[in-house]
Amino acid sequence: MYNFEIEKPATIADAVKALGRDEAQPLSGGQTLIPTLKARLAAPSVLVSLHGIDEMKGVCLDDDGRLCIGGATIHSVVAKEAQAHYPALAGLAARIGDPAVRNRGTIGGSVANNDPSACYPAAVLASGATVVTNKREIAADDYFQGMFATALEEGEIVTEVKFPIPQSAHYEKHIQPASRFPLVAAFVAKYADGVRVAITGASEDGVFRWTEAEEMLSNSFAADGLKGLTVDGSGMISDLHGSGEYRAHLVGVMTRRAVAAMGG
């Protein structure tokens, strides 16, 4: 780890100001950033911890009935407090990493990092959630722009994520045996106006919506209906833990299992 200064703002406004400093980087849980720093693979001169910003913490319902989660809310809090409103999302949060990760890692950090194998992006995209920043609101469909790439601009902070609550939903993941990140995971969310399916872990372009499956499921919500529907393995990640072809196969399996778990 190289030396750096650390700022601990108490408000979003102060955090934004601190992020204006040269080579400043936000720290929101640090479950990716801290190991990167320890390996000396990053050298920010200032870390701006979002941990002490109370206005970015917590889980609540807004007037539109959306589940709103502050960007600095840790996974273990989401696992508890979202349970009554959005159990599939709570279940996802409860199974990220291990207890140490769940007690430090935040939804804002995960969504801002957009690791192609992270869990949260699948929920955000499948829910058609809105990513709120200190500047604007961004629809999930516009927010995720590829592996580790998002619509966020330099110095922009994810302050909140607003999830429309589906009629039912399920997150099914098949883990990579070493990291225990999803090798492939599917988040299926059923709304009155249709079904959304988001896949994480599989694609070289990061989290994506499986629109063919969404169309079929919106017409008829049945796992069996998806049999025979495949995704192309060519754009899938291929590594030590599985070929693109295997991941493409798992996209179908995980989606069907999610649908089946929802009674479809």
């Binding site: 070493a178 990291s179 030590l240 295997y246």
Partner: protein, 787 residues
């Protein structure tokens, strides 16, 4: 009725109090006033010409004490190899130079190029980044079969080829074996990979070198399984420090699994640099460094063939193995694929003719050496996979085929040079069949199938040669060290004992189980016996702990020393009791005169030894301290039978282990709880190899599985509740305790059962897959079932 103390009692591990409460004393806990820290700059390319290192900018940086490069070690010996294998043509193996810091060339990713000693680790690391290293990258050779092709890139320019040795065993049997194959009624052939592993002890390696200028004495604190061996190798062959000026201390060590047997560059460096800098020098490996610098394990590619006669008797066996040595010979690397592997190829079977060929190969990878089991897991895996394959080809029950070919008469001289002293393979198989509830398997399979899963059952046997080893034998086989063990028993005036053993405990519980043996022999409380190990300044020359040898060899030395103590104490007692020595009996910590009520307590005798007022000074010396060295007459041969039951998800390929049964014969047992724990740990590592762990290089020699993000360690949730039994006991016939050793059995015996079970599950799903390589990952299972 279980005992509550002494031999056979499940005494609680006394060392766990300090291990579990954070009060252990590990090498990294040792900090010497004024110590500096070293950071090793390691090669990030697998192969290249090292043209130069510009240290000038780094030397000017804050806190830098001194920067070392390969040139600083030209006058110093290289890293020694402790075993010389002779090839099938009678020629010695090729033995390349192994520098402390790379000189002229780099040969694997992770090889240390330069060492920066600075006031703090961060300063050392900062300065290391300012080093300018000029390397001309060369093509790397990673694949073993590529490495031995004509015209292959050479890892070492100054030796003839990448073929370290071509070993044939037993060479004289080769023609007879080939003839038996020509005459066989059936031949089963199998090609397989024994996957490369990283040991991953919980505690990474650490070395602290210290030097006392006033007395010219060196001290090395290190994470070692055998501090005396490090003292000998490093002192005599690397740095030229006589043993009386060199102390090596291996305090609490957090797991070794073989990878802490070897003498490493970092140890020699810290010892050397402490004198050069006149300051203690400390190195603590990061986990990332451990992946790139700890010796790796396994990495064999094998073709094995079994010839059977018309009655399914095993007629002959031959194997052809490529064994990866990595870029350099680690301390005991040459012995692993040869004498710890070829000699085990008979397994539990009376195969009359065996020929083993092993080609050891240099590649641009981290050196490979012993890892829990060392050669014996490789032998067991290929043999037990092969026997299973033969059973399926012949349409016979795999257990029946094994039983039919079991060795049943002991001693049994195998055609591969070893003689099994004792064993009862039907007994462990009987026990296993009972434990595994084979009768209930069909119902369990139906339950799995009702959930859309496949269920498979796999079994295997194993035999291992432990308790290494007779020194005169291993000397003939190329060992450059003896393999005896030592113990000094020091009885204090008030009756307590300190036993200094040459064995080393790095988690095995010796402090508890060794004390049980001595306490039992004298008839005193275990808490009166303290076990000391791990410091060359405290105990006699010992060879350390590996190869499941501690209780069999170290324990035997301790028994011999204690027998000497008892013999002398009886003389003292006979004087105090005014009785004939031959009438003195020792029972429950008191000496009595046979047939009388006259007795004297242990503590009175020990006090007399040190306060010899009323003492037979004409006959014996005062004091009560004895040393014994024990050199075994044979290996020990633990054996057993293991069964695994898996559930396989045909859609994802995921395999979960539902049941695992282990029936072992370890001979006599000192502490059943500790033995059970050793088997559990071994099983975790064997199942880890079978399902999860894989050390993978790309074609350029970059380690792809270089962290826990990609190297999958077994976790509690991957493992079942084991069913472990060691009630089948055929005591070793040649050591005083009748013990065989239990440290490696779980890791040796479990991988084939897992793979056999997976293949059985696939067959039940209509997929007749003849083999799948470890680790049996979901993606491999899916590919095999959909191939």
């Amino acid at each position: 009725m279980p005992k509550d103390s002494g031999i056979g009692a499940s005494s609680k591990r006394r060392e766990d109090i300090r291990f579990l409460t954070g009060s252990g004393n590990y090498t990294d806990d040792i900090n010497i006033r004024g110590q500096a820290h070293v950071y090793f700059l390691r090669s990030d390319v697998a192969h290249g010409t090292l043209k130069g290192i510009d240290t000038s900018a780094a030397e000017a940086m804050d806190g830098v004490v001194r920067i070392f490069t390969g040139a600083d070690f030209e006058a110093v010996g290289g890293m020694p190899c402790g075993w010389q294998v002779t090839d099938r043509h009678g020629q010695p193996m090729l033995e390349p130079k192994h520098p402390i810091l790379a000189h002229g060339k780099v040969r694997h990713v992770g090889e240390p190029i330069a060492a920066v000693v600075a006031d703090t680790l961060e300063q050392a690391r900062d300065a290391a980044e300012a080093l300018v290293v000029d390397i001309d990258e060369l093509p790397a050779v990673i694949d073993m079969k590529e490495a031995v092709r004509d015209g292959a890139t050479k890892v070492h320019d100054d030796i003839a080829s990448n073929l370290c040795y071509d070993w044939g065993f037993v060479e004289e049997n080769k023609d007879a074996v080939n003839k038996a194959f020509e005459e066989a009624a059936h031949v089963t052939t199998l090609e397989l990979v024994n996957n490369r592993l990283v040991a991953n002890p919980m505690e990474p390696r650490v070395a602290v070198g210290d030097y006392a200028r006033g007395t010219d004495e060196h001290t090395l604190y290190t994470t070692s399984q055998n501090p005396h061996v490090i003292r000998l190798l490093m002192g005599a062959f690397v740095l030229g420090i006589p043993e009386h000026k060199l102390r090596v201390v291996a305090p609490d060590v957090g797991g070794g699994f073989g990878t802490k047997i070897f003498h490493y560059q970092e140890e020699a460096f810290c010892t050397f640099a402490a004198k050069a800098c006149n300051r203690a020098v400390k190195w603590t490996s990061s986990r990332s460094e451990a992946f790139l610098s700890d010796a790796h394990g396994r990495d064999h590619v094998t073709k094995i063939e079994l010839a059977l006669d018309k009655d399914n008797n095993f007629a002959a066996l031959r194997t052809d193995t490529y064994a990866n040595m990595g870029a350099y010979l680690s301390t005991f690397a040459p012995s692993v694929p040869t004498w710890l592997h070829g000699t085990l190829m008979a397994g539990n079977y009376k195969t009359p003719l065996i020929y083993v060929n092993v080609k050891a190969v240099f590649t641009n990878t981290v050196p490979v050496d012993a890892y829990r089991g060392a050669g014996r897991p490789e032998a067991t895996y290929q043999l037990e996979r092969l026997v299973d394959k033969a059973a399926h080809e012949l349409g016979v029950d795999p257990i029946a085929l094994r039983r039919q070919n079991f060795i049943t008469e002991f001693p049994y001289a195998t055609p591969v040079a070893v003689e099994y002293d004792t064993g009862d393979y039907h007994a462990t198989m009987d026990k296993l069949e009972e434990m595994a509830d084979i009768a209930g398997f069909a119902a369990r399979r139906r339950e799995s199938e009702a959930k859309g899963k496949l269920r498979g059952f796999g079994v295997n046997c194993y035999i291992e040669a432990c308790g290494i080893a007779p020194s005169n034998l291993v000397g003939q086989l190329g060992a450059r060290a003896g393999l005896y063990e030592s113990a000094t028993v020091r009885v204090n005036a008030t009756g307590g004992l300190v036993v200094m053993t040459g064995s080393h405990s790095h988690g095995q519980g010796h402090e508890t189980s060794f004390a049980q043996v001595v306490a039992e022999m004298i008839g005193i409380d275990e808490n009166m016996v303290e076990i000391v190990h791990g410091d060359t300044a405290r105990g006699p020359m010992g060879m350390g702990t590996y190869g499941s040898r501690s209780i069999a060899v170290g324990g035997s030395a301790m028994v011999r020393a204690t027998e000497k103590i008892i013999a002398k104490a009886k003389k003292i007692a006979s004087h105090l009791l005014e009785a004939s020595e031959s009438d003195i009996e020792l029972k429950d910590g008191a000496f009595s005169v046979a047939g009388t009520d006259k007795s004297v307590a242990w503590g009175d005798v020990t006090l007399a030894a040190y306060v010899p007022h009323n003492y037979p000074l004409d006959d014996i010396e005062p004091g009560l301290e004895e040393t014994a060295f024990y050199d075994p007459s044979n290996f020990t041969y633990p054996s057993g039978a293991y069964a695994c039951e898996v559930e396989l998800d045909p859609e994802t390929g995921h395999v979960s282990i539902e049941r695992f049964s282990a029936a072992d014969d370890f001979g006599n047992i000192i502490n059943p709880m500790i033995v059970t724990g050793q088997v559990h740990g071994g099983l975790a590592q064997g199942i880890g190899q079978a399902l999860l762990e894989n050390c993978v290089y790309d074609a350029e020699g970059q380690l792809l599985s270089a962290s826990y993000m990609d190297y999958a360690m077994p976790r509690a949730s991957d493992l079942p509740f084991y069913d472990v039994d060691h009630s089948c006991q055929t005591p070793c016939t040649h050591n005083p305790l009748g013990v065989k050793g239990c440290g490696e059995a779980g890791a040796i015996g479990s991988p084939p059962a897992v793979v056999n079970a997976v293949l059985d599950a696939m067959r039940s799903g209509g997929k007749n897959v003849s083999h799948i390589d470890m680790p049996v990952t979901p993606s491999r299972v899916w590919a095999a079932m959909n191939g």
